[in-house]
Symmetry: C2
Subunit: 624 residues, 2 copies
Amino acid sequence: MLESEIYDWLKKEGINTPAYKLFNLSAELDVDFYPVALKIESPKVVHKSDVGGVVIDIKNREELLAAQKTILSNIKAHGIALDDNDRLIATQMCKGIELFFGVVTDPVFEKVIVFGTGGIFVELFKDVCFIDSEADEEEIKRAILQTKISTLFTTGFRGTKYELTPAIDLIKKLQKTEASELDFNPVILTPNSLTVVDARAKFDKLQPQTKKLKSAPQIFNPQKVAIIGASEHPEKVGSALAENVAAHPNVYLVNPKLKTLFGKQVYNTIGALPDIDTAVIAIPAQNVKQTILELIPKGVKNIIIITAGFKEVGEDEVFLTQLAAEHDLNIVGPNCLGVYTNDLNLTFATPDVHRGPVNLISQSGAILAELMDKAPVENIGFENIVSVGNMADIDFADLIHSYTGSNPLNLYVEGIQHGKNLLRAIRKSKVPVNIFKAGKSKAAQKAAFSHTGNLSGNYEMFVGLLKSVGVKMLSDTNGLLYPHQFKKILVITNAGGEGTVMSDLISDKMFELSAAQLNELSQVLPYNWSKNNPVDIIGDSDHTRYLDAIKVADNFGADALYVIVTPQHMTDTSKIADIFTGNTFKTPIFPIFLGGELVENAKRLLREKKIQFFEELSEGASFL
Amino acid sequence: MLESEIYDWLKKEGINTPAYKLFNLSAELDVDFYPVALKIESPKVVHKSDVGGVVIDIKNREELLAAQKTILSNIKAHGIALDDNDRLIATQMCKGIELFFGVVTDPVFEKVIVFGTGGIFVELFKDVCFIDSEADEEEIKRAILQTKISTLFTTGFRGTKYELTPAIDLIKKLQKTEASELDFNPVILTPNSLTVVDARAKFDKLQPQTKKLKSAPQIFNPQKVAIIGASEHPEKVGSALAENVAAHPNVYLVNPKLKTLFGKQVYNTIGALPDIDTAVIAIPAQNVKQTILELIPKGVKNIIIITAGFKEVGEDEVFLTQLAAEHDLNIVGPNCLGVYTNDLNLTFATPDVHRGPVNLISQSGAILAELMDKAPVENIGFENIVSVGNMADIDFADLIHSYTGSNPLNLYVEGIQHGKNLLRAIRKSKVPVNIFKAGKSKAAQKAAFSHTGNLSGNYEMFVGLLKSVGVKMLSDTNGLLYPHQFKKILVITNAGGEGTVMSDLISDKMFELSAAQLNELSQVLPYNWSKNNPVDIIGDSDHTRYLDAIKVADNFGADALYVIVTPQHMTDTSKIADIFTGNTFKTPIFPIFLGGELVENAKRLLREKKIQFFEELSEGASFL
């Protein structure tokens, strides 16, 4: 599309554009709206600046005629032969702050709007946000606030405040445009208007994604389960899998050769099974299809395919997607670790899984195995665990859409395929969604690709879009083990240095102490305490002073208390540990025992009683 | 200084300025260098834009006369009464990219040059760097490269590369200027020139700092040491202090009442002592001065004052600075934890300090105590430890300047006073200096102030200036325990997910594998290994495969090997731990054991043998 055509199209769309006039290449130029920019207008020239095809700030006719000569000779010098169909376009110059508005078509998120600082600074500062084409006004605003330039709209700048409405209106128009790619740069911002002064657009017809968002709450409600490929060989996953659930009366083991396993009867054929709703498959890849077909008459709805050897090694798995659609199945996997739900541990990871509030959905089996192994040490329990594997059918979006509980959903994501579905599911979700996204750096993207064959996509776009739908992005995989959403933390410490470092780590989450609360603390603390959060109770604190401070602070209404213990002269850290093993408090409380030898015994005491604690300040910050 | 005066001054300094002309307020304006900006020029108007005192882009006489009216009525409307001494100034408009150059006088670093993106973006993007007034050209370049706008000079932008020399020349001129405060904004950049088109400057006479950089290598070489205030009461610091060195033949204990302590003779008066070079003082604050005076005849050079109760609680300590100067003493502290050096543990922290390569200098006693307590658990040894306390005399700069060893110096810094001395010492240092700086956030600055009474200063300026003199800024206090400067890491892992997360954490430090090295690894690894760093040796890896991979990788020349072990199906983590306890390798090797229950035994084995390992990926990244 040529610049003049774009202006005509924009005008039709109700978007401000500058005055312009078209000329033949050899015309005697003049306009009545100086200052102007003169540019070549030709389908042979895509990037006008690169071939000297633009002259700006032309103030009068004399300069305009000079610019005409310059442009034509520049283009000739670049070896481009212009002809009678090509034109020169003179556009009125506008003054103001330069913004960028664009449309991109992403393989994962499809049509996405890009907004931010324009002009030459688009590339230098990358101060842009990403807005889904389905975002509503609130979501658009949340996205815009992720840019630095948004300060112009919020607090204003040097006494001038800029209206946000024209930007939102333009974004809404771009959400509806049929352009597949579009750059408006710059768009000139004045306090109450926007004018698009340079534009580029493409209208390729692209195939939209067809996967529908699934609601399959039965995934989280298996009742009668068959383990296909239960094994007696401990080195096989079918052994761990069977052992993890053998004690459950409504779980049936299937193996063609065995009679009993882990004290339980074994079915030799699928045909011999009673009706089931869920099957876990851990047999060689080439037998998976036939097995699923045999399972269908048994009434199965959920199929969890542990078996590897599909897409991740270049083999076909489209048949799984098709089987799911044709027979209304919910297929998890293939190439996954399994599912823990409804108190059933249908995984081949640790048997030591306890019920609790954490929902963990992971694209990496190893990350899942690591966190599951760590959870009992910290006394953390799970409501649901899903290893999504290759996501041939059920993906993150479907799981969010199917969850009917009330705890947050924590996701470990490397790369996804159906971005719009994920955004839709999160918009509808009644519970918070927290995501750790791997693959920020080029090195990690390469690593992720080499181990899953999945492209991990544009990191900034992923994060920007997900934040705009309200997702909290986690900075550490440890955050995946916590269901908390703490906003205001009170820190109690016996060391000022550690208090300072902690303040840096959780700076925007520091609980504000009222005058009355400061006074209450002063009643139990020495005169030289910090009178501030972090509450520095001074290096000579013993367990009594810790307990006094905690008891007072327990009533303040903070979301959590972090209690830092550093081994200073005469600190009896074991007695301080007893505070946490021997008392209960209203506020969630997290001891942080720093140091080494002098806190070893304290840590042992806490581990024995399964009291959750941290050994590093950064650990305490990592799940916030 | 008025704008026209600044232009005249700049011209004298050889700095490009635009053409300008001054007019009386009621003059009939005209110039011969349109387009121009018209501005008020009056000592009554400091911020011209704020009172409507600027009109830009004036293209002809008609517009110039209109601008004159506008400006005069705007200023009147702001209630400012102009008189016959005030002027209007018309300056030629220049086109180009807007940069910022400035001078600030900081209480810590004194005169500092600021450079970066200009125009309205100074405030919005804060894309600026800080340059010491004593920086040489290389240091100026390192500073400039910290800005995003520096891309214009390095890779260029849209085909145009900009010369760096004019910017460096202008910075060098600003280093020499007598201005105490100066803003050039904007400075117009074209491919080979700079023109200052708006300027503001102040020439306040400020008192320069007088503290001289000290060289006192004897601090790190105490030979005969007296402990003043050795105590028999275990709750007193004088007890721990005495106990930590009692066994040393050249350490003398002083206490007015005791005969012996920890099996050692006690001196009852300072007068009774033999000659000493170093004294450690742990007696009440009010007796410190008299004690120092008594010590001087004994030939003492180094005085370490443990005693608190000075500046940090608002008491005078200037007398310490004066005593140090008058009697040529090196005073460490007051209010500190002590010093470990020359194998002498002159601290009241843990007695369990081993000799090794780490130099740790800390402004927080608690951080120091925590790290000293952690060190033996990880088999980390120290060359020197200094708790600097209030820095009445010896500060970070003096210590760096006094160190004659060959290991890196690691500093924990909250706030400093003599910035230029620190920069000078680091420039001269023959060893790398690594710094963890607390007090980035407002919350942390408040916390640091409440526990030390020290302002922690402008964080960005501190980091910018220190990076420019080559300091590595640490992101985690754990980094203070490591003397390493690893640039290229090879990661071996049995899990792709963890490999991806690790790649994100150390993305710019991933060792690049050559084709030959890939081939060598392929000889010992299964066909489906990652063929990439991280070296994913696949989830079913046993200890044999780990050892094979490590042995091959040990010859590659990486600075370090990180070996990630996640407990996957059938992983015998204890046998893998034996690799690290039972073998030695050429390359520094760091096992990372992730998970919980399934790695507990492995961790225990490593702890028993004092093998350094990590329990979190982020720990492995934190010291790089």
